[in-house]
């Protein structure tokens, strides 16, 4: 299913125009204090580096067609539908989805603060950096400093695109980060899966494993160990073929226009520093 990019998003007042739009724009509220923010993904995908090409090497584009008329469809010719019976759909617009719960579509309302370490790792889904928007730097700074000092994370639910999320807001190094969490009914329990009932472990077995753990214990994990070696191998092969002038096609058609290749880090730095994104 294609993702629709043309979603009407709420824009905070005084939001500066930038060529790289944030993932979500909204407001964090705690008490009566509201902080307009922009959300940027804290991760980037690097795997999708291969392009699909035609027989002559022309980069191909994905296009959408009507099954009946065979006509090519633009964004405006497509709607979202929920299948209630086979081939029978209820149409739902972006505006309707937003108006089902407009407050949650715009606000991350922090009504609960918990100890950072209280959230178990299985719940974490996606991470986003938050940048202040529309002159909210002072309130942003205040919330970040307060949360960081007390080691607390703020919890809320909010709606982004067409889905509600449970979210935890963390403060680290003066920067607020939103991490979406799974709802508890999305997490299976050991009973759901049917894992065997826990057994009392024999002391000797436990201490044998403790020794093994101690023998392989290290206090650090380097980023080096989490390198994507598979992609590195792919790049090596690409370079090898290139240096041998092997299997190269020059199409004169750039898949990406150079000026559109933007560094996410750069955008984040600029918006955190309160500068206009280039």
């Amino acid at each position: 299913m294609p993702k629709r990019k043309t979603r009407a998003k709420p824009e905070p007042e005084g939001e500066q125009e930038s060529s790289t739009r944030p993932f979500w724009s909204g407001t964090i509220t705690f008490g009566l204090v509201s902080i307009p923010v922009n959300l940027y993904p804290a991760t980037r995908s690097v795997r999708s580096s291969l392009r699909m090409l035609g027989p002559e090497g022309v980069p191909l584009h994905r296009r959408y067609f009507s099954p009946e008329t065979g006509k090519q469809l633009d964004d405006d010719d497509m709607v979202r539908g929920y299948e209630i019976e086979k081939d029978e759909y209820v149409l739902v617009t972006d505006e309707e989805l937003e108006r089902l719960d407009p407050e949650k579509s715009r606000d991350i309302d922090l009504r609960l603060f918990v100890k950072n370490e209280e959230i178990q790792p299985v719940y974490f889904e996606h991470a986003y950096f938050l940048a202040p928007a529309g002159g909210s730097v002072k309130a942003y700074q205040l919330l970040a400093e307060t949360m960081e000092k007390s080691g607390r994370a703020g919890i809320a639910t909010f709606v982004m695109r067409d889905k509600a999320y449970l979210v935890a807001i963390f403060a680290e190094n003066g920067i607020l980060r939103a991490e979406t969490l799974r709802f508890s009914d999305e997490i299976r329990s050991a009973e759901d899966i049917g894992l065997p009932k826990p057994k009392h472990a024999a002391k000797a077995d436990v201490s044998r494993f403790e020794k093994l753990i101690k023998a392989h214990a290290k206090d650090q994990l380097s980023r080096e160990e989490l390198r994507d070696e598979q992609t590195e191998e792919l790049l090596k092969l690409v370079e090898q073929k290139r240096s041998h002038h092997q299997d190269i096609v020059e199409t004169g058609v750039a898949e990406h226009e150079p000026e559109k290749v933007v560094d996410l880090m750069e955008i984040l730095k600029r918006s955190l520093a309160g500068k206009k994104a280039a």
Partner: protein, 261 residues
């Protein structure tokens, strides 16, 4: 309900091995929409198209390439790609045990359970040992032609395995500048501290339900019956004008709530 294992392997620590089964720990509860042709209300088709000629290219004629310069591609065929696949193995290799909590949330990707495969004595002994040592194992393994890194942890009485993102995928906040406006006043900081303290509580995940999902489904049901359900108006929010005033008012209203309760 019992779930089927999606993979079986062996957790390998040094020369010791622990036979395990891998189960997904998450269950998708999302509402899925289809993209339809607005005129005919039937599901759209997608094709790969040559943008210059508008011609559709059938899947068997599609080639894959890596763009080394704008417009220049190095072609990789199926043989190249299968050579790049890591060697298949059933070993989930532990490289090290790091202190629990050492890995930032940012790295976590998808959670799985590891269950015992066959005899469970060693399995539960290992869970206990991980708890006693308060560590989690960093592991590497190959599953279905892809290599993974993950963290093996004790969760309750069982083992979970959470895949970790690659270092290229995670942006480091160390390189980011923290937003700085001016120095915050002592008073503002104290009030904010008090406000966070007043809102402090314990986290009970089961108290948070996805109510929005229910609203969307109810809305769809009503629409299917030909009704026009009412929607809420969209309103704009005013940003905070005076931090100190808003903090003071928030604290006052919280205190009032507490008195009533």
């Amino acid at each position: 309900m019992t779930a089927r294992a999606i993979w079986t392997g062996r957790l390998k620590i040094g020369s010791s091995g622990l036979p395990v089964k891998l189960y997904s720990a998450v269950e998708d509860q999302g509402i899925h929409f289809h993209i339809l042709d607005a005129k005919t209300k039937s599901r759209i088709k997608q094709h790969m198209v040559n943008p210059e000629t508008g011609e559709e290219v059938p899947p068997e004629e599609i080639r894959k390439g890596y763009e080394v310069e704008p417009g220049t591609f190095v072609l990789l065929d199926d043989e190249d790609l299968s050579k790049l696949e890591p060697k298949p193995s059933r070993d989930i290799e532990v490289s090290r045990f790091v202190p629990s909590g050492h890995i930032s949330h940012l790295w976590y990707d998808r959670p799985y359970y590891l269950g015992p495969d066959g005899d469970s004595d060693d399995y539960f002994a290992f869970v206990q040992a991980l708890k006693n040592e308060d560590r989690e194992g960093i592991v590497h393994w190959v599953m279905r032609g892809k290599s993974y890194a993950g963290a093996v942890r004790a969760s309750g009485d069982y083992l979970t395995l959470i895949t970790l993102k690659h270092s290229e995928e995670v942006l480091s906040d160390r390189d980011l500048p923290a937003p700085q406006a001016r120095d915050l006043s002592e008073k503002e900081l104290n009030m904010a501290q008090e406000l966070v303290g007043a809102l402090e509580g314990e986290l009970h995940f089961e108290n948070f339900r996805d109510e929005y999902r229910d609203r969307v489904l109810d809305f769809i049901k009503a629409k299917a019956k030909g009704r026009k359900p009412r929607l809420h108006p969209l309103r704009k929010k005013r940003p905070t004008a005076s931090l100190e005033r808003d903090l003071a008012r928030s604290l006052a209203s919280l205190k009032k709530e507490k008195k009533v309760a």
